[in-house]
């Protein structure tokens, strides 16, 4: 008998004697554990901003596309353009005259190329699936956000997003994932909540452990 069969058989034999849970069961996947949030976009935005800033992330709210582009240009201009990369196909960035000389598309085809390009990157610019207000969390996926390394290797991760992408809770975000990826689930989805951090030395907080030291979200 294979180990698979051995394990499954042992499990079935064990479960032939069922146990009751002493705790109240609930079939609902709704959210009874947090107080409800006001779903108005401006309310969600202020909660998102407060949460992410508490975790040393920065949030810029712009009132127009032009404002957002010039904010992005301002951030990117601090670095050598050969170290700045953006998610290919990100319509916000591609074809913009103001950004043409500041950032290049991450159009590598192989893992080796990606590592070579991003190992020493200063900026990675990506979109997001959703922004979760409650925790100040950014939801991204490999199929749409330029892969796994663009959001994790550069020193500074910049996320560009639109106001309607804000949702109240993680469960709302996961609902969007289901809708979007129903038939083809991506190999990688991540919930990013602040810049990379560690407290492994005497519980002292240090930012930028292995992932990005800075995290900026530009919303308009």
């Amino acid at each position: 008998m294979s180990s698979r069969e051995t394990i499954l058989t042992s499990i079935r034999r064990a479960l032939a004697t069922p146990t009751d849970s002493p705790h109240q069961a609930s079939g609902e996947l709704e959210n009874p554990w947090y107080p409800e949030l006001d779903p108005a976009p401006e309310k969600l935005l202020s909660i998102f901003k407060e949460q992410l800033e508490r975790l040393n992330g920065s949030v810029f709210v712009e009132d127009s596309e032009t404002g957002a582009i010039s904010r992005l240009a301002g951030l990117l201009s601090k670095s050598d353009p050969s170290r700045c990369w953006y998610e290919p196909g990100l319509e916000w960035v591609s074809g913009r005259e103001e950004l043409k000389d500041l950032v290049r598309p991450a159009t590598y085809e192989t893992g080796a190329q990606a590592k070579k390009a991003l190992g020493n990157a200063a900026f990675g610019v990506t979109s997001a699936i959703a922004l979760v207000a409650r925790h100040g969390t950014i939801l991204t996926a490999a199929t749409t956000q330029g892969g796994r390394l663009l959001c994790s290797l550069p020193d500074h991760h910049i996320v560009v997003a639109r106001l309607p992408q804000l949702v109240a809770d993680l469960s709302d975000g996961y609902g969007l994932l289901r809708e979007r990826f129903q038939d083809a689930w991506p190999s990688f989805v991540t919930n990013i909540t602040g810049p990379s951090r560690t407290a492994d030395i005497e519980k002292i907080l240090v930012l930028g452990a292995h992932g990005p030291r800075d995290l900026t979200v530009i919303i308009w």
Binding site: T17, T19, W33, L170, Y174, R178, R197, T198, I201
Partner: protein, 482 residues
């Protein structure tokens, strides 16, 4: 079997060498004042963070109950959830392996290493790999292994085992770590945690990019849509799973949950209880190797499902609940015993109260049952457990099971028989009180007696109480007379 169980120092023929070693280590650690200082500081900070965080929840107790019932439900249909997980992951090109024990898991990993010519491995933090003794095994086969979590990296450089399942280097100060980095990595001496972290980051960057294989654990697995979830703060988990051409994850079979939506509760719950964070920095879902249309990611993704004694626990309806554990470490932080002796004294992979519940049942009740006595049964562990495992109750069951298979000494047996007979009779109780007063007084007056058998065990580290001149009952009787 973890590597330290194979250590010849820990082997004896009576099966009690583990217990003896535990007593030696426990005595040594309990009198280490520096260690106690560090533990007190860190754990106090931790408790304050958890307390502050409680305000986010409508009712933390309701959240715990819900989590407990969901975990119970998942364990109750473990077989079908594992099959569903396997089907969904395989459809995306994942190779799912099943391992009955540690040796089978190591064989599976060896095969992947051999078939792909793997020479270097970068690791994300994983207690399951500690459980099977993976690092030592790979190194013996001349594969370079680097731990990428900062705490684990420090422990690896020191050649130690993790001190705590969440905070492996909890027992070390900045200056200990600086001295270590100075010696091993040529980093100039510093008192600054940030400089030390930067040094580790720089050291690790090239290793992430060059390693052939990344090995991680998993905090949760989700049957639908079929993925594993890894919680971390540093970004080393994402990099270990994404930069090398092969990603291999290993997890205990009990970690699977039915639905993705349940993580909306479990991720904040784990962060809350583990580190006192509202939500940890990175919670990443891995559902396969690089898919068509994705720009990067590993060519192969392997998932090893490990039994290693878990189905044994499942078969015991009394102990089954302990499989609900999400390894948050809350019970370690709360435990008065852990706070005094720290994680190394336990001598097993999973330390603290939950470790003392599951280790005897994973590794052998006879050899590891003594851990169930490393508890004051105060119940704080059960009170903080986010999935409501009745930890101290299971410790009592373990004690009973141990007594069944290795009966206590004649003295102990008679002693307790006498005790129970005394306690059920008022006359015998009054008589015993008089004797005890006499006996205690005698021991106080004749110091020589303190060196005898059971008396010595008590007096070695404690002062004997001076008996009151009259007992409470006698005082009441006296009152009534006058």
């Amino acid at each position: 079997m973890p590597s330290y169980c194979r250590d010849p120092r820990f082997q004896g023929d009576d099966g009690l060498s583990e217990a003896r070693d535990f007593l030696t280590r426990e005595r040594e650690k309990a009198s280490d004042q520096d260690l106690k200082g560090i533990l007190r500081r860190t754990l106090t900070n931790h408790h304050l963070a958890v307390e502050r965080n409680e305000a986010h929840w409508i009712d933390w107790q309701v959240a715990r109950s819900l989590a407990a019932s969901w975990k119970h439900d998942a364990i109750s249909r473990l077989d079908s959830l594992l099959e569903e997980l396997e089907t969904n992951l395989t459809a995306r090109g994942t190779v799912v392996h099943w391992a009955s024990n540690a040796d089978e898991a190591l064989d599976i990993i060896d095969t992947v290493v051999r078939e792909n010519g793997v020479q270097s491995v970068i690791k994300g933090k994983s207690m399951t790999t500690e459980e099977i003794g993976l690092n030592e095994h790979l190194e013996a086969g001349a594969v370079e292994v680097v731990e990428s979590d900062l705490g684990e990296f420090i422990i690896q450089l020191r050649g130690e085992k993790p001190f705590h399942i969440i905070t492996p280097a909890m027992h070390l100060t900045k200056s200990d770590i600086s001295a270590l980095f100075e010696e091993k990595l040529d980093v100039p001496h510093t008192d600054d945690a940030e400089t030390l972290t930067r040094a580790a980051r720089a050291h690790m960057r090239s290793r992430f990019l060059q390693a052939d294989m990344g090995i991680t654990g998993a905090n949760f697995a989700i049957a639908n849509p079929g993925l594993i979830s890894i919680t971390e703060n540093e970004g080393n988990g994402i990099l270990s799973a994404s930069a090398p051409r092969i990603h291999l994850a290993i997890m205990g079979i009990e970690k699977v949950l039915p639905q993705l939506e349940q993580l909306a509760l479990f991720l904040p719950l784990l962060s809350h209880s583990g580190t006192g964070q509202f939500l940890s920095c990175y919670n990443s879902f891995f559902g396969g190797p690089r898919q068509t249309g994705e720009r990067d990611g590993p060519e192969q993704f392997h998932l090893v499902l490990l039994d290693n004694g878990r189905t044994g626990i499942l078969a015991d309806p009394e102990q089954r609940e302990s499989l609900q554990c999400i390894r948050c470490g809350a019970c370690l932080n709360a435990c008065p015993i852990f706070r005094n002796i720290g994680g190394h004294a336990y001598g097993v992979t999973y330390q603290g109260p939950i470790g003392s519940v599951i280790s005897p049942n994973l590794l052998g009740v006879k050899e590891f049952g003594h851990l169930s006595f490393a508890s004051s049964l105060c119940g704080k562990c059960a009170e903080v457990c986010p999935v409501r495992i009745n930890i101290h109750h299971h410790l009592l069951e373990n004690r009973r099971n141990l007594v069944k298979i290795s009966p206590p000494s004649t003295l102990e047996r008679h002693g307790f028989r006498g005790y129970s007979r005394t306690m059920v009779s008022a006359t015998r109780y009054r008589m015993a009180v008089r004797f005890a007063r006499l006996g205690l007084g005698m021991i106080q007056r004749v110091p020589f007696l303190k060196r005898f058998g059971p008396i010595q065990k008590w007096t070695a580290s404690r002062t004997l109480p001076v008996p009151a001149r009259t007992s409470f009952l006698e005082q009441v009787a006296e009152e009534r007379k006058s």
